[in-house]
Symmetry: C2
Subunit: 196 residues, 2 copies
């Protein structure tokens, strides 16, 4: 229980996540969230102006979780090819874990993601920017050939969609998924590499 | 109207397609189809042992339509890179046409595709085989470097999923789709090319 004066945005987001998990995206309401926290729903609206705003914030937090690692990989020292490979496998592992460990919560979030296109677009743009950072670094080091960095980063992201876009989640438990990812990675890396 | 004795499998498939278009996948029945054709539903079952079998045959026909072109591109003479580009753009154009011209029928077929995983798997395997044919030819001509042809063909197919997999159909009307496809194509082609 939180008193009105001690209530934080973080508590509201956690309680919303709980409500979504228990009642599903169609039924979870701000009233449920307020009741769980022992506050009035007016208190929730002091932090988030609408139900949609709470759900967007929850979606944003969910998308950001497990992607903190990625930000660090993008700015680490070391060979760009190795970092890009690690970045992609980390993304794949994080998405696969979410999809396979708790399919119901994953489905719930897929519904929220469908509602919050601006939040999702910003998230995807941030991921593509991280790839662009690694590419830029690789070009400067002479590992990768010169290409328009942003367009190529987008191409790398889309080329690997099979292994991070939730639309393909049904194939992620396939025993050939790792091998297929590595074959795709070889093709992409060869496409990026500077002439030997 | 068809008399029982003149009834053909092709008529049944066309009538099923009409019924799916009118009633949707949840409601279209073999009885509707038989009524449209003026035959008993027993006559339909002489061609297809079950409702599922009719629907699979319709799905197969739909998947095969507009893909005839692809088979020819795979076996044509000419530079492999140019043919692979044409094969991919033809596939993208065919899928996009289906998705955007008649979204409701497209959605209907997505439901059927979800039911007929063996039909779909065979269809996808045939497409990957066509890519493998082009790759093999390109390797023999010295255009493409030596790689395990089947794994690389699968990688090319998956790398371009953004532009042919119905899961990504919502992005196909985006004005940047062509440019993004071309950026992805450059990455893939560079990944395939033999050392200059």
């Amino acid at each position: 229980m939180a008193t009105d004066s001690a209530l934080t945005a973080e508590q509201i987001l956690s309680a919303t996540e709980d409500a979504l998990r228990r009642f599903g995206p169609a039924k979870a309401t701000v009233v449920d969230v307020a009741r769980t926290l022992g506050v009035s729903h007016g208190s929730v609206y002091r932090f988030f102006p609408s139900k949609a705003a709470v759900r967007e914030a929850v979606t944003q937090r969910w998308l950001a979780q497990a992607h903190d690692d990625l930000r660090f990989i993008a700015i680490e020292p070391g060979p760009a090819a190795e970092r890009l490979h690690r970045w992609l496998t980390t993304l794949f592992a994080a998405k696969r874990r979410k999809a396979l460990d708790d399919p119901q919560l994953f489905a719930t979030y897929m519904t929220l993601v469908g509602e919050a296109s601006q939040v999702v677009d910003a998230h995807l743009a941030a991921l593509v920017d991280q790839i662009a950072q690694i590419l830029q670094d690789g070009i400067e080091k002479g590992e990768f050939r010169h290409t328009p960095v942003n367009a190529t980063a987008r191409a790398v992201f889309e080329a690997t969609a099979h292994f991070h876009d939730p639309a393909h989640a049904s194939g992620w438990s396939d025993p050939t998924a790792e091998d297929r990812f590595e074959a795709l990675w070889k093709l992409v890396l060869r496409g990026l590499a500077a002439d030997a």
